[in-house]
Symmetry: C3
Subunit: 325 residues, 3 copies
């Protein structure tokens, strides 16, 4: 649905709202561009002037210091000015509508909005009403999408030598409430991964999961059998209070990733997690701290992937910029 909005008339990426609607070519272009930024992170001087004079607004309606920080670092490495707009303290709770808030910020001649919102579709709504010079990146909207997370996960798989056309990937945990899972299933399908699995208790699995492009498993040993990549999701402890999860101990016994369960996967299988981890709940510390875990490389890759997305969607403006310097 957001596919049309995401591209301009020349089929260039304009906003990043969801993985759904992207094609393989665009995704690979982002991953390849990210690769060129990995070296920037390792250089002595980490800045490139691509977004100099541009204003990036971190528009977070849902608090997430960590995700905000990744976008802030990525934008600053591209030499942009960054404004952190904490919406809790602002005028939306003074009765102003979301669109009025956005229109106001756009009127300040800002260029790029990183939008995080508790409601699915918020970033889409913002993009739909944005003037032509403004770009939007969805940094997570409700249970809907978290496209930069899916991109950095795909980047990490490729970095660890996994060939999308051949691998088996298992996503484990609270699939139902997870925008990370939704975006990841999309990207793996677009990239041609032949076997995408989700492993969860029935209470945490959406009904039409097959139609989304993933095979459901209810047992870890069955689901992890022969996989090349395991993506552990964060369990919200709040779910324990409801009837969705029996108890922390029982959840860990059944679905927590331990070295014992890991044995059934491929010998070179990698273990991913979007963070922050609940050690001893969805993942055992011995696994989280092992060589198989790619959790910290995911974070590093996240900066490069976000730089790549920002650089690509601001690319149209870049060209004009050349003339002015």
């Amino acid at each position: 649905m957001s596919g049309d909005l995401q591209f301009d008339s020349n089929k260039r990426l304009r906003h990043l709202l969801s993985i759904d609607g992207l094609d393989q070519k665009t995704i690979l272009e982002i991953l390849d561009t990210a690769e060129t930024f990995i070296s920037v992170g390792e250089r002595q001087i980490r800045k490139v002037p691509l977004l100099r004079g541009k204003t990036v607004v971190n528009l977070f309606f849902e608090a997430s210091t960590r995700t905000r920080t990744t976008f802030e670092i990525a934008a600053k490495r591209l030499s942009a000015d960054v404004i952190n707009f904490n919406i809790g303290a602002s005028s939306t709770n003074k009765g102003e509508t979301l669109l009025d808030t956005i229109n106001n910020l756009e009127a300040m001649h800002t260029d790029l909005f990183i939008v995080r919102h508790i409601d699915a579709g918020a970033a889409y709504l913002v993009a739909k009403h944005a003037p032509s010079h403004v770009r939007i990146i969805n940094a997570g909207d409700g249970r809907h999408a978290h496209p930069t997370q899916a991109l950095l996960d795909a980047y990490t798989m490729r970095q660890y030598g996994k060939d999308f056309k051949k691998i088996k990937v298992a996503i484990v945990g609270d699939i139902m409430h997870s925008r990370v899972a939704r975006s990841l299933i999309h990207i793996l399908n677009i990239l041609g991964v032949p076997d995408v699995r989700v492993i969860a208790p029935k209470t945490l699995l959406p009904v039409a999961i097959e139609r989304l492009g993933a095979h459901p498993y209810f047992d870890m040993y069955e689901g992890l059998e022969g996989v090349d990549v395991i993506v552990m999701l964060r369990i919200q402890r709040e779910r324990m209070q409801g009837a969705l999860i029996p108890s922390e101990q029982e959840y860990f016994n059944l679905y927590g990733l331990t070295e014992e369960k890991l044995v059934v996967a491929q010998d070179d299988a990698i273990v991913m997690h979007p963070g922050p981890m609940n050690r001893g709940l969805e993942i055992d510390s011995s696994v989280a701290d092992s060589d198989r875990a790619t959790i910290l490389p995911q974070v590093s890759n996240g900066i490069a992937v976000r730089m790549a997305v920002m650089a690509l969607i601001m690319g149209g403006n870049q060209k004009n910029k050349g003339a002015e310097n």
Copy 2:
């Protein structure tokens, strides 16, 4: 009262504390300077190096993410470093006096303070004790003044072709509690506007409003008759709880700006609002979203006007700077 403090011995603007005390020449110099910065906002690279190496401190004792953001963007476009000093989390609630807090920040060799405070006179107090190298801009103090808002409103009127010497302006709403209204009445009088009106229920009108330089009206149709500019003020919903306003519905019926009431104004009358708007309370959405509304241009102009004020009051330092480069 703050007039003396606002100028240095060479009659150059030194602090911006209130519109009261400024002369027409100074105001027009600010508006003309702002005009040169409008193009900066539309350029590909939005930075000018006027305040490079300077430190601007947003000293907000009263939370206002939106106003802080406008000053932060303006300062960054001038290449200043910006420090957001959230006073709620700081040492004034550790028993330190306001002046000790300010003295401390000044001792860090900061250059410009943007001060917002719930008490009238706070920015004046800070300016009175500031060392000679420090500049102060009042970003709103209690019910007293909000000079940059008045300046951007005047800028917007001129931009829309209104001739200050000829126009009728109506300010509508909670005049009593509004620093925006106070500063706006002052600037319109200084600029020679022949007919300044305020429209409000009696409970929201200060007694000596005539002496301030505005004619009171209690009826919208009478007050809007033939005006060229309408400035709608934000209604604080808290006033509803008290006896000051009967009910939202009744307030909207009597004082909310609708297309029906707008008919009595000039055909090319513009509708202004400082934001954030309460749609359906002080203004109808059909008016707010019409061609007549200048609400978003006001926001854009606000960046340029704040850049102009910063550049002008830091001007003395600018000269010296040339020598050093």
Copy 3:
């Protein structure tokens, strides 16, 4: 204990965790470097490009807007990018461990962490697990240490012509709970100050204070006799509620610094305070505002000292940087 961690194999300063473990040469190198940065604060353009392209993370687990601001200003004057990571709003309260949070931030290719924590040893813990390219500065950990405060205090004494080898210094107030006192006693001993005194009621004095290197006094007139430097500590009003301090009035009568008590000190004795002050509790306003008080110079010096520490511990990287430009 943190001594080994603080230096690299070439005996260069690597982290600043506590004064304990530093030698006189290193401390004097920091003070001398700070002196070169004092002029930067007084220049028209206050930036030097030493940390350009570096990312400094203010990692404050304990709120302190003022201290954070001093580090933020210092880092920006060195041209670093600064990320303020407010840990209250972040994932540690989502159950993530401190080390996971740090590891994540480090994976973002950040360079320098300014760590403030309510627990003694937190900065040490972070440094112990940091990868080789990351540097740590302790900005206060529990009652343990506040090394940059001690350095700026030493800097200020020297600036006011005090010869470390000859002076008498009295530290007055809540020695027991003060990391400032601990770090200051250390630095004065390392610098060879022959007479370091602490003055406090017995309830606010640690038992083994002599072993720490300070002589205890319980009476102000005895303790201040002939001293060259008086360092007043901030009294936490919370202590009043407990049995530690009788009442504000009684505390002020016995231990508050007044002009009357000051008479017994040297004629050119200076009065220091780390801020924020409780006027009328630990210090009389007439003393705080007198020529003897060096409270605001301490703040200015704090910026220069923090710039010096950052520049020195990042120095190893600086060398490589030259090649790249």
